[in-house]
């Protein structure tokens, strides 16, 4: 479980262009569930996602993962957290250009330096699950949009994290691909992963995979709905 306690995030603090992206947010995110952070752009959902994922530290407040504070760790441990506990799917996917699909998928595991053959098998297995095995040796910039996202998902899974964080995953997808994405989310959920997804796309929010919807506006949580099933 992730507990967000009174978290604020201020950019350019004390300067004329000061922005209060998050304002005293408190939220509990359950395990093995799909939680959606819903809201218009500028509502602070992406900022909240990066704080949860240890990409940044809150200006005030704290975040706990399974009861341990993760929001005040030294950088070295923040990196370890990102590597071991979280998998990220970025809005613009952020694959490394010029590298092959399989190399991209393996990247998050490099610092842990596992056995190479084993890692490669793992990467191939992840690609196989996402029906991308035939693209393994291809350079990522040659992939289609849907394929790129699946590679990004495979990359997020390579270290077998408990949490998968996705930022606006449908921003670059057409309807058919959204269906596919929902399938993948279902698959991850079935694997026991906990997902946090930021989106304002009703196709996701209204789908049956979502367990919790937290609505945000102007840096605050306005409502939290647990979907009854």
């Amino acid at each position: 479980m992730i507990e967000v306690e009174n978290v604020s995030r201020v950019y350019n603090e004390g300067r004329p262009n000061e922005v209060r992206a998050l304002n005293d947010v408190t939220l509990r995110i359950p395990d093995h569930a799909v939680t959606v952070l819903k809201g218009p752009s500028g509502s602070g959902k992406t900022t909240l996602l990066s704080l949860i994922g240890c990409l940044a530290r809150p200006t005030s407040g704290r975040i706990l993962l399974d009861g341990e504070i993760i929001s005040a760790l030294p950088e070295h441990f923040m990196a370890k957290m990102r590597r071991e506990r979280f998998g990220f799917v970025f809005q613009r996917f952020h694959l490394i250009r010029g590298l092959s699909v399989v190399d991209n998928v393996m990247l998050p595991a490099y610092p842990a330096a596992p056995d190479y053959r084993e890692l490669r098998e793992r990467a191939m297995a992840a690609l196989r699950r996402l029906r991308l095995e035939h693209r393994a040796g291809m350079k990522v910039e040659l992939l289609s949009g849907g394929e790129t996202q699946r590679v990004a998902i495979a990359r997020a899974l390579i270290n077998d994290p408990e949490w998968v964080l996705a930022d606006e995953p449908t921003a670059n997808l057409d309807s058919a691909l959204v269906e596919q994405l929902l399938e993948e989310i279902r698959m991850l959920k079935a694997d026991g992963k906990s997902l946090v997804i930021t989106t304002h796309d009703p196709r996701i929010i209204d789908s049956d995979v979502v367990d919790v919807v937290a609505e945000m506006r102007d840096g605050k949580i306005t409502s939290v709905t647990e979907v009854e099933r």
């Binding site: 990196a79 998050p108 490099y110 610092p111």
Partner: protein, 382 residues
């Protein structure tokens, strides 16, 4: 430790893949860098090998040479000096030497013409005979013709039967030699019997007395210049050192330029590269991973440049007779020794070169790379 190595290999994998994206640019960089190392190493290897040969061979040079100076210039030593020198206690084997230069108008080569003193039967030359060095033999086809024709400037022709051609093994000392009998030498150069000698060589009975004897000679023959074997050896310790130093300073400057280039490249990381660093950090790479990965980029380039350059230079100087340096060393000379050099290399210089190649390159990139490595991973969310 094993984990550390495994991690470095992964980082190397990444850096190589990243470098491969701009392979031509990196290849050109590697080639130029290698070339600089190659030239530096070649000059260093050649210099130390020549110094080694000089030291090895000139250990047996005459212990003391006495020259006559007239008007401050090297002139013929009067014949009676031989007896005067014999009169100095502690000297032995005093002998007048006759040698000079001959410019061969036919091919523009300079020969060193010398009288073999005949103390060694295999090098004794009778009148009408000649022993030539390998270089002279080559340009005059002595091996085929079995004789050597020398045309005196006044038109008189000397036809000499080649008794022997000195081998290439000694070419570094002898390739331009033309050894004549004393009679032929005097006739060829129009040198009367009483004209004296080019210089006088002698030995000293007790090695430790060389300085004392040299002093005594200077006192007894105030016009003389005394050159000891030590002086000769010291001359060759310095050979090339001057130009080698200038050349090395110039090439070292280009290494510095490389370091500056590396620094510039590392500090002027493109937006694309910064974004990549941000992505890697967001994926869980530590600052130290980014740092090590970026340092490998420079280190691999420098290591390859150093190793290829040094090995190629060794092959170049010792297997291919320093062909690239030859035009510089040869100057305007027609004769140039083709002796294989003993591959004496200065290991300290090699280590210095390695340090000069690898360390500045890495050091220059350290600070800018570190600055990039602490990029905030949050940038990938924007």
């Amino acid at each position: 430790m094993f984990h550390w190595l495994a991690r470095q290999r992964y980082l190397m994998d990444y850096t190589l893949a990243a470098m491969w994206r701009r392979k031509w640019r990196n290849l050109v960089l590697l080639v130029v860098f290698t070339l600089v190392v190659f030239l530096l190493a070649s000059v260093s290897f050649f210099g130390s090998a020549v110094r080694f040969e000089a030291k090895r061979a000139l250990k047996f040079a005459p212990e003391v040479m006495v020259q006559n100076l007239v008007l401050g210039r090297h002139a013929l030593a009067p014949a009676d000096w031989v007896d005067k020198l014999k009169g100095i206690r502690g000297t032995r084997n005093v002998r007048g030497r006759l040698w000079g230069y001959f410019y061969d108008q036919g091919n523009g080569a300079n020969y060193t013409v010398m009288v073999a003193d005949g103390s060694d039967p295999s090098l004794a030359v009778a009148p009408d005979e000649v022993i030539v060095g390998a270089g002279v033999a080559r340009v005059r086809e002595v091996e085929k013709l079995r004789n050597l024709l020398l045309l005196r400037p006044d038109g008189k022709l000397f036809k000499l039967r080649a008794k022997r051609i000195l081998s290439d093994d000694s070419a570094l000392l002898t390739h331009d030699l033309v050894l004549l009998s004393e009679a032929d030498f005097r006739e060829f150069f129009n040198l009367p019997r009483d004209a004296g000698f080019t210089d006088i060589a002698l030995e000293v009975r007790n090695r430790r007395e060389v300085a004392t004897i040299a002093n005594k000679i200077s006192q007894r023959l105030p016009n003389a210049r005394v050159v000891t074997r030590e002086d000769i050896l010291r001359t060759y310790e310095n050979v090339f050192s001057w130009r080698e130093g200038v050349l090395q300073a110039m090439l070292a400057a280009s290494l510095a330029a490389f370091a500056i280039f590396a620094f510039d490249k590392a500090s002027g990381l493109s937006a694309e590269e910064r974004r990549e660093i941000g992505i890697l950090k967001a994926l869980g790479w530590d600052t130290s991973d980014i740092l090590a990965m970026k340092l490998w980029e420079g280190a691999l380039l420098a290591l390859f440049a150093f190793l290829i350059g040094a090995v190629a230079a060794y092959a170049h100087v010792f297997l291919f007779q320093a062909g690239v340096l030859a035009p510089v060393l040869k100057g305007w000379a027609v004769l140039y020794p083709q002796a294989p050099l003993t591959p004496q290399i200065d290991r300290l210089q090699l280590v210095t070169l390695a340090m000069l190649t690898i360390v500045p390159f890495i050091a220059a990139t350290l600070v800018p790379v570190w600055k990039a490595a602490i990029t905030d991973p949050e940038v990938v969310m924007r």
